[in-house]
Symmetry: C2
Subunit: 228 residues, 2 copies
């Protein structure tokens, strides 16, 4: 078990970190200097020991009896997530969802700046959506060379997803945030993160069905927080 293990955090932990960060920023805005895992636990409905384990992973160190420095904890989490310096992103596909993401202001706090958008539709190229110019897709390689782009956000139709991903890969982009339902083939050097709404919907409807079954059959075991 080498030291390298230290920097391998588990997936659930990583997914919980943004929630801590949000709460911590609220505390900072209120001028709070210290925070305990007990407090975070209650606010976020996560059991205390999980909070403690999660924070440990980020390298944050607390003071017994006092808790964690809010400012230090924010820095620890941000640096762990790589959110300290904003990643530059291209958005591909200015449809409904692409437009919504262009207008979403929250990404800046989460270390992501959408630099500009691309589309193949000539009625869209040249227009400005939420303050960002929409360029023709064929301009992407050239613009990627000039700007230093880390991430491509894919909001194109599923049928155009692989082709768009190929363009991003060829342009040297290292990360793809894939909002389409297509399963993409990318080289190992490129990270592809699927953001599939149907996953969340599947969990919701399954939980609904289970809840309904419990209501009609009280002998059925209730799902624990861990199960669903």
């Amino acid at each position: 078990m080498s030291d390298n293990r230290l920097h391998i955090a588990n997936l659930p932990t990583i997914q919980r970190l943004p929630a801590y960060l949000r709460e911590l920023r609220t505390l900072r805005a209120r001028g709070e200097e210290f925070v305990s895992t007990t407090y975070l636990s209650e606010r976020l409905q996560i059991i205390p020991i999980v909070v403690r384990k999660d924070l440990t992973v980020t390298g944050a160190v607390g003071k017994p009896r006092i808790g964690f420095s809010v400012a230090e904890l924010i820095t620890s989490i941000e640096s762990f997530l790589g959110w300290q310096q904003a990643k530059q992103a291209f958005l591909l596909g200015v449809g409904h969802l692409g437009t919504a993401l262009l207008g979403y202001g929250g990404f800046i706090q989460n270390g992501l700046t959408i630099v500009t958008a691309f589309d193949t539709n000539p009625t869209k190229t040249g227009t400005t959506v939420h303050g960002k110019t929409v360029h023709a897709l064929h301009q992407l390689p050239e613009m990627a060379k000039e700007l230093s782009i880390d991430v491509g956000i894919l909001t194109v139709p599923a049928t155009a997803a692989q082709e768009s991903a190929n363009i991003l890969v060829r342009a040297g982009i290292r990360g793809i945030w894939n909002f389409t339902s297509a399963k993409l083939d990318v080289p190992e050097t490129v990270v592809c993160q699927d953001q599939d709404l149907s996953e969340g919907l599947a969990v919701l409807t399954t939980r609904l069905r289970r809840n309904a079954e419990e209501a009609t059959d009280p002998s059925a075991p209730a799902a624990t927080a861990n199960e669903l």
Copy 2:
């Protein structure tokens, strides 16, 4: 270990089911009658044994040497997820994201129909967005009584999220799909599914950071599919 356990599937399995379903529908459209787990495994980049375990959970039964009936497998997954008969949904908050979801055609295939939308902004109420009328929020309780609504989709600002959730709960809605970053308090009888973009972004940026570290330090252990 009672028989009831059979209907408790694990979360990762549930999240993978929509991908199988999508692939199966493509096969059905092509007129394919049977499919093997080997095929699904290759198409979706999921190892065969996981596919087999996942399909077992839905109650589907295959034929050795032949595979699963595409039609039966679709039915098994749909019924497991509760996607056979579409759930009726109200959407609250017709901003960028709400508008995008109203315009998204894919929900129907995933057992969800957005019946109508609500907003507090008088410039929006009365208008039609992607074919759906936007009603004033105060009309919600009355309309929920008339229509049989299963799910509320929350795309309001985070600051209005709890208040909106309260309205939904009072109107008797049993499931909330929460697209805001607010952590909601709801009764145990109500299922609240958080759909938080920042979780996915956290995973993406952490994987990017790790990939970059591996590139500079080849001795660092590569993350397995399981880790991230």
